[in-house]
């Protein structure tokens, strides 16, 4: 048995008196694959990620992390773990974050080591090496010394991504990670995502753009009204079935047999004319 995350019939919401946002939701995300969650506004995508991270309490169901890497079957019920232990297995690149003037990119990335170093422990030289080498590979070393409040939304997303990557947890959740990224950075972001998946990470990403989801997702979870309606494995689903499923969520969507826009060997192929 490999490494995977099993969400088993969970329900969750924001407190007593208010209806649950998630209702008997189940999904399985395998390591090494990019699992994409698609759904309309307000269907509970962000809440699902929060429930897995633990900032929204479950009212039913459980979330199991399985790892049989070392020959022995290890299963952990995430909801039994306290916040810090949980963050050693799961981390999120959240949609929103705040900052005050004076806090720099490095200040945010350093928080990735709270899990290992605690409140008082100093960061080792190797910790900083990890930060700088990853920052270098993302091409954002310059951002580490810049104030967060002086960054654009896209630059903040890159810093947030770096924090999640440095934390190096087996499960990484992304909440609309590419919403503010430019063309180059979107490409760089997804190649990074494929790289992480190649390292046996469990990648769960909420995306709003079905074209990005189709281009990069291995498994698509179609979400509606607080539950996963359909799980599409790209490897075993044929074209018509894929189109039909997606059209239930996006009625105006039409799939092209030929890729309009494809990513190949690090370069993007763009069509000259856009069909409407």
């Amino acid at each position: 048995m490999g490494r995977r995350l099993c969400v088993e019939g969970i329900a969750a919401g924001y407190g007593a008196g208010r209806p649950d946002v998630l209702r008997s939701l189940s999904l399985i995300a395998d390591a090494g694959k990019i699992t994409v969650i698609l759904g309309g506004n307000g269907c509970g995508k962000t809440t699902l990620l929060r429930a897995i991270q633990g900032s929204v309490p479950l009212t039913a169901g459980r979330i199991i992390y399985e790892d049989g890497e070392d020959g022995e079957e290890g299963t952990v019920d995430l909801s039994t773990l306290e916040v810090r232990r949980r963050a050693s297995l799961v981390t999120t690149m959240p949609q929103e974050h705040t900052a005050v003037p004076g806090l720099c990119g490095l200040d945010r990335v350093e928080t990735a080591f709270y899990v290992s170093r605690g409140i008082f422990g100093r960061l080792a030289a190797s910790d900083y090496e990890k930060i700088y080498s990853l920052a270098d590979s993302f091409g954002i070393t310059e951002l580490l010394g810049r104030e967060l409040t002086a960054m654009s939304a896209g630059e903040r997303q890159l810093i947030s991504l770096l924090r999640a990557a440095v934390q190096d947890t087996p499960v990484i959740l992304f909440d609309e990670p590419a919403s503010a990224l430019d063309f180059n950075n979107t490409g760089a972001f997804f190649s990074m995502l494929h790289e992480l998946a190649g390292k046996r990470k469990i990648i769960l990403a909420v995306l709003h753009d079905p074209t990005l989801a189709l281009r990069h997702g291995d498994v698509l979870c179609l979400m509606r009204e607080g539950t996963i309606q359909r799980l599409i494995d790209r490897g075993t689903t044929d074209f018509d079935e894929l189109e039909n499923s997606l059209r239930r969520l996006y009625p105006r969507l039409r799939l092209n047999r030929e890729p309009l826009f494809c990513y190949d060997e690090g370069t993007y192929m763009c069509p000259q004319q856009q069909e409407i």
Partner: protein, 334 residues
């Protein structure tokens, strides 16, 4: 380079202000009095000369209190900004000042004891406002910093209403002016019985805030990011808020309400020092201590023998500084 200079400039400035504060006042002290003052330190007070008694009984506690209160307000200001992730947050946000004012006014109107009892009431009032804010936030199930701000406004308004009631009940001859003077802040009535309990209570609390730099930074980055990195934001925010409020209450109960230092010190520090790194909070404290000591010097020397409220000077100095900083920041485009 600008960052480094602060480390060299600030300590001499603080030292100079403290020295000036020790010798300035209605009873003049000279440098030649130093041997007498030090020599008679451990004598019983009835055998000490007047110079020694003025120094150790009044001047020294007053200077210590100015430095310490300024330091507390500066550090707490920095802490409030971080835990609420808002550069406009200040110690007034959770109604400490109003709570302490209410407590002090209550002691004045009830005619209870001297200034030491007044200090106790003010401290209790400040802590009560914190407890009420925490209860309200808990009741509202508040995950967000907004609920702290809202609860702070509610409690602050409540205390202000109480203060107004007390003012209408107060004897206009003596009590009303005492209340007004208290709400404008003054270090005139500071003596050793007030200064040393303040130091004993606030030093460990300050140390705690300075040590918890990592959780503070994480709180400033937002609750989602905090949890993703493994820190539970709610208990930590409550703990750090309590620490900051405890220190501010202790300071306010001794000095009365001193406006603006908690807001302006972190802004000046950020302007001069830039990064919010390890040295930031201690520097905030040092800047706050300089402001308050200078303001107290002005309050006792510019009034022509009479003591002026210290808030006049902190606010009068703070407003133009804040305006200049805001304009400059805008020009820098950050």
């Amino acid at each position: 380079m600008r960052r480094r200079t602060l480390f060299f400039v600030l300590p001499p400035v603080l030292f100079l202000l403290a020295a000036l504060s020790l010798v300035t006042g209605s009873y003049p002290l000279k440098l030649s009095d130093v041997p007498t003052i030090l020599g008679e330190l451990f004598m019983p007070s009835d055998k000490q000369s007047l110079v020694t008694r003025v120094f150790w009984g009044l001047r020294f506690p007053r200077t210590i209190t100015a430095l310490l209160s300024g330091f507390i307000l500066g550090v707490s200001g920095g802490v409030y900004q971080l835990i609420f992730s808002n550069p406009l947050a200040s110690p007034d946000l959770t109604g400490v000042a109003s709570g302490a004012s209410f407590g002090a006014a209550l002691a004045i109107v009830l005619g209870i004891g001297g200034s030491f009892q007044r200090m106790g009431f003010a401290f209790f009032g400040g802590i009560m406002s914190l407890v009420l804010v925490l209860l309200l936030v808990n009741r509202a199930g508040g995950e967000r910093t907004g609920s702290y701000v809202l609860s702070g406004i509610v409690i602050s308004a409540l205390c202000s209403a109480g203060l107004m009631v007390l003012k209408t009940l107060a004897d206009p001859e003596r009590q009303l002016s005492a209340i007004d003077f208290w709400t404008m802040g003054s270090l005139a009535a500071v003596s050793s019985v007030k200064a040393y309990p303040l130091a004993a209570l606030s030093l460990p609390v300050i140390a705690l805030m300075l040590l918890l730099r990592r959780p503070l930074t994480m709180l400033a980055l937002g609750d989602e990011e905090c949890r993703a990195a493994g820190l539970s934001p709610r208990p930590w925010r409550a703990l750090l808020l309590s620490a900051a409020t405890l220190a501010v209450s202790a300071s306010v109960s001794v000095t009365g309400v001193i406006g603006f230092v908690g807001l302006i010190a972190p802004h000046i520090t950020h302007f001069l020092y830039g990064r919010r790194s390890r040295a930031f909070l201690p520097l905030c404290g040092a800047v706050g201590a300089s402001i308050l000591t200078a303001a107290d010097l002005a309050a006792r020397s510019l009034g022509g023998g009479a003591e002026l409220p210290v808030s006049i000077f902190t606010v009068a100095a703070g407003v133009p500084v804040l305006v200049v900083l805001l304009c400059r920041r805008r020009r820098e485009g950050t």
